[in-house]
């Protein structure tokens, strides 16, 4: 613990600072320079090892990693766009580190949140007590395009709707973890978590050596077990499959990866057939029963009998077989209502309602404009807030106060007053940063975190998660489409 970390002091000397020579003083909460747990010795050690590398060396290793990804056919190529569909997140070599204590908070928070989401879904598709009690406005749920009336009264095994959940978490100036978004439909990205770790071990073995990092290998087994747990009762060795839209889907690489890790067949809709409300797959030995389906297909495409009649990707009769309890489907249909922005704002109240606990992880401070207080606050502070439309409208009609002109703000104020129920507002969060290899050397870039939770008989959270990094200087957008990359996420044991 000697001599305080303050690596921020500019001009601390290139020889001493090595990799961080150009890093300077991070303006935001830095994932590796500042620790809230005092000075964790392991973090210090990792930092020292990183300092021992120079930029040229790190670049050589990054190139080796890139070449490997290219040969694996899971990376951008310079030749044509068509090949870019598999791997969309460039890999940054410098890991993002979470201490055991930090992880404990995240893990408990994620488990709590997933539990509440599953309780919420059961409730709104059965008794709707939370609506009757007025905790969540009725029309917000029942009028939501992701609410599926077909799900009413369907008793899903073990009460689990969301078997796989991704929770998007950011860190603010003070280093607090805040939930930005829930992903309860078919969250993707977990393959990067595991592939990034493999890549890290191959390319930077000297950085990893001797440091206790929680392994990420278990994911496939856990997922397989969760699916087996929800398979119809009485089946001794349930046949699990992964249902993919096929090789042209942007996440096909991940589907392959997960099928391999789970040890189950990757099937497409045309491989499955429903007879007498039972699901079978077409094999060289004839039809073989299927008991649990991890589907990576949206609700709309799942079954042309129930949803989009023109779907070529789904399986006719699948939902009927499911309703009769002859097959399990993960995630369940109709979970989209729970990860909607409108519902997100109510999540702290939903947690308290079902679990009688305070949320372990807070939401980003969110005001609900359909409530008079929230609307007033939003109108008063419009120039400092991000105001987002809820429901299906996606990014359209969003305004970022600090970046808007006076005229734009005035115009938006009118829109907001006309339909306050359609908006929520949040402060602009200065996301934490992590050192990242950039063109000019190692620089600070904003990151977020998506841990993945698997729920069968109980909920398990993969240690770490996907750390996405905004590679563009100053950018807060970590999406792959906006120049985002990913990092290996280390949870110290």
């Amino acid at each position: 613990m000697s001599g305080g970390p303050d690596p921020a002091a500019p001009g601390a000397g290139a020889a001493v600072d090595g990799l961080f020579a150009a890093y300077g003083a991070p303006r935001f909460f830095c994932e590796i320079m500042k620790g809230l747990d005092g000075e964790e010795p392991t973090v210090q050690l990792i930092r020292e090892r990183l300092r021992g590398l120079d930029v040229a060396e790190l670049r050589r290793r990054a190139d080796a990693a890139e070449a490997e990804l290219y040969n694996l056919g899971i990376t951008f190529t310079v030749y044509s766009e068509r090949d870019a569909i598999d791997r969309i997140l460039p890999f940054d070599l410098i890991p993002r580190v979470l201490t055991a204590r930090e992880w404990d908070t995240i893990e408990r928070g994620v488990v709590q949140r997933v539990t509440a989401i599953n309780r919420f879904l059961w409730d709104i598709y059965h008794d709707q007590a939370i609506l009757k009690d007025g905790v969540v406005p009725r029309e917000l749920v029942l009028g939501n395009p992701n609410f599926r009336p077909e799900m009413m009264g369907l008793d899903v095994p073990l009460g689990v709707y969301v078997h796989v959940n991704g929770t998007d978490i950011v860190r603010d100036d003070a280093g607090r973890f805040l939930v930005l978004e829930d992903n309860a439909r078919t969250p993707s990205g977990v393959s990067y978590v595991i592939e990034n770790r493999h890549m890290m071990l191959r390319v930077l073995p000297d950085l990893v050596a001797g440091i206790g990092i929680r392994p990420v290998e278990e994911y496939g087994v856990r997922l397989q077990q969760a699916l087996a747990a929800v398979a119809p009762a009485g089946v001794v060795d349930p046949q699990v499959v992964l249902l993919s839209p096929g090789i042209y889907n942007a996440a096909y690489f991940e589907h392959v990866f997960l099928a391999r890790e789970m040890g189950v067949p990757l099937v497409e809709g045309r491989d499955l057939v429903v007879e007498d409300a039972r699901v079978f797959m077409r094999t060289i030995a004839g039809l073989r029963p299927v008991h649990a389906i991890y589907r990576r297909l949206n609700d709309d495409f799942l079954d042309p009998d129930v949803f989009r009649a023109d779907s070529q990707l789904g399986v006719r009769g699948l939902v009927d077989a499911w309703r009769r309890g002859n097959v399990a489907i993960a995630n369940a249909v109709g979970t989209g209502v729970a990860d909607d922005k409108a519902i997100y704002a109510y999540m702290p109240r939903i947690i308290r309602y079902y679990l009688s606990e305070d949320p372990v992880l807070d939401n980003v401070d969110t005001r609900i404009c359909r409530e008079p207080d929230g609307l007033q606050y939003t109108l008063d502070n419009l120039d400092r807030l991000v105001v987002k439309p809820v429901g299906e409208s996606g990014g359209y009609g969003l305004i970022i106060g600090p970046h808007a002109t006076r005229a734009e703000l005035d115009e938006f104020r009118i829109k907001l007053k006309a339909d306050p129920g359609n908006y929520i507002s949040q402060p602009v969060i200065n996301l934490s940063t992590a050192p990242t290899l950039c063109e000019g050397g190692v620089e600070a870039r904003h990151v977020d975190l998506r841990p993945f939770a698997v729920t069968g008989a109980s909920t398990w959270v993969l240690p770490g998660g996907l750390s996405r990094v905004a590679l563009k200087k100053g950018s807060l957008v970590v999406n792959s489409s906006q120049g985002g990359g990913s990092k290996d996420t280390w949870v110290l044991s």
Partner: protein, 378 residues
């Protein structure tokens, strides 16, 4: 399973325990194997033709490749002379030609992508790297001074592929389907090679045993990796009938027709004995007949009765076997299912493949045509 005979010690369990292979995967495996084998054969034939035309004055050296593949019409639709530059471009680089190496590796990669859940990372990575390499080839790479080197590399990549398959492919049903596809293709390619070369090389002015004749037949043997073995086994004469006989009937030469059929037969038998997949019986019966026809007669008898007609019949039978395998393992509509509209049996790969790349589609349509042209007896 009570049956002991024929089961391999340590085979992956009884039928009940063996993980059932998806029909779609079986189909893709067969086609992947066929396409990779086709690439190697194409490289071999281009290589031998290049040697041919460089060392002797053969009138139709390059045209014979077009004849082997029945591609003359397609070739002349966009090109004039059947010369080295044109033919090499047509078969190596031209993605508009579904039978070019560029198209075949594209289709192979698509198949491998679909099979990615099943195949090893090494296998996938190699196909991907191979594909990337072929894609960057240009007209410079097929100039006469480089063509032979290029073919050597192509052969080497296919052999690497085979080595990786051998070393990493799990030996369950999928493996046998790979073998079926590979050897069906190889048998077919060998009959085409013999058919075309026998007729184009039969002596006209120059008498049998002339230097030209001999060098050309040695080149044919070389293209089938059979030259040295032939020399060793039959040191006395290098005659057209003897070479044709060696390539078709020799039961030890790795690219001979007889050996290819034995491999297909063995794989189908294993599927039956080890996995209880009895529906391969029809294909097995047909194979038995075909093998009997080959073992019952000498090459001299075959030639006397008409080599071309015989090889034609063999090719038709090989297509039948492919269709029998398709019918048995991936084309059967499940009970109670509505029939696939207008789709004949054996066409699912072709149909599904049609959503693949345009180049792949033309290839597949070609295969479908072949398929539909085949008179069906069962």
């Amino acid at each position: 399973m009570g049956a002991v005979s024929g089961s391999v010690p340590g085979a992956p369990g009884s039928t009940a325990q063996a993980q059932a292979l998806l029909s779609r995967y079986a189909e893709n495996i067969v086609w992947l194997a066929r396409y990779m084998e086709r690439i190697e054969n194409l490289a071999r034939i281009i290589d031998v033709t290049e040697t041919f035309t460089r060392t002797s004055q053969v009138e139709n050296g390059w045209r014979s490749i077009l004849q082997i593949n029945a591609d003359e019409a397609e070739y002349h639709a966009s090109r004039q002379d059947a010369d080295m530059q044109g033919v090499a471009e047509f078969y190596v680089l031209d993605t508009a030609n579904p039978n070019s190496i560029a198209s075949l590796i594209n289709t192979s990669r698509e198949n491998a992508r679909t099979l990615r859940p099943l195949i090893s990372t090494e296998m996938w990575t190699h196909i991907n790297v191979f594909h990337n390499w072929v894609r960057q080839l240009t007209g410079e790479d097929i100039r006469s001074s480089r063509l032979s080197g290029l073919c050597a590399r192509l052969k080497q990549e296919c052999q690497t592929h085979n080595g990786i398959i051998e070393g990493t492919f799990y030996r369950d049903q999928g493996w046998y389907f790979y073998m079926i596809g590979k050897y069906l293709e190889r048998g077919d390619q060998t009959t085409r090679l013999v058919d075309i070369k026998y007729h184009t090389l039969l002596p006209r002015e120059a008498g049998i045993g002339s230097p030209v004749d001999i060098s050309q037949w040695s080149a044919v043997l070389r293209s089938a990796a059979a030259y040295h073995a032939y020399r060793r086994v039959m040191p006395r004469a290098l005659t057209a009938p003897a070479v044709a006989g060696f390539l078709l009937l020799n039961n030890a030469s790795p690219r001979s027709l007889v050996l290819a059929l034995r491999q297909v037969y063995g794989s189908l038998s294993q599927l039956r004995t080890d996995y209880g997949l009895r529906q391969g019986g029809i294909a097995l019966e047909r194979l038995e007949e075909l093998r009997a026809a080959l073992s019952d007669q000498t090459i001299e008898q075959i030639i006397l009765r008409g080599l071309h007609e015989f090889l034609d019949w063999v090719q038709v039978e090989l297509r039948h076997i492919q269709n029998d395998v398709a019918d048995a393992f991936w084309s059967v509509a499940p009970t109670g299912q509505r029939a696939e509209p207008a789709a004949g049996t054996g066409m699912t790969q072709e149909m599904s493949g049609m959503t693949q790349s345009l180049g792949g589609m033309t290839q597949i349509l070609g295969d479908m045509r072949q398929h539909l042209d085949t008179p069906r007896t069962g």
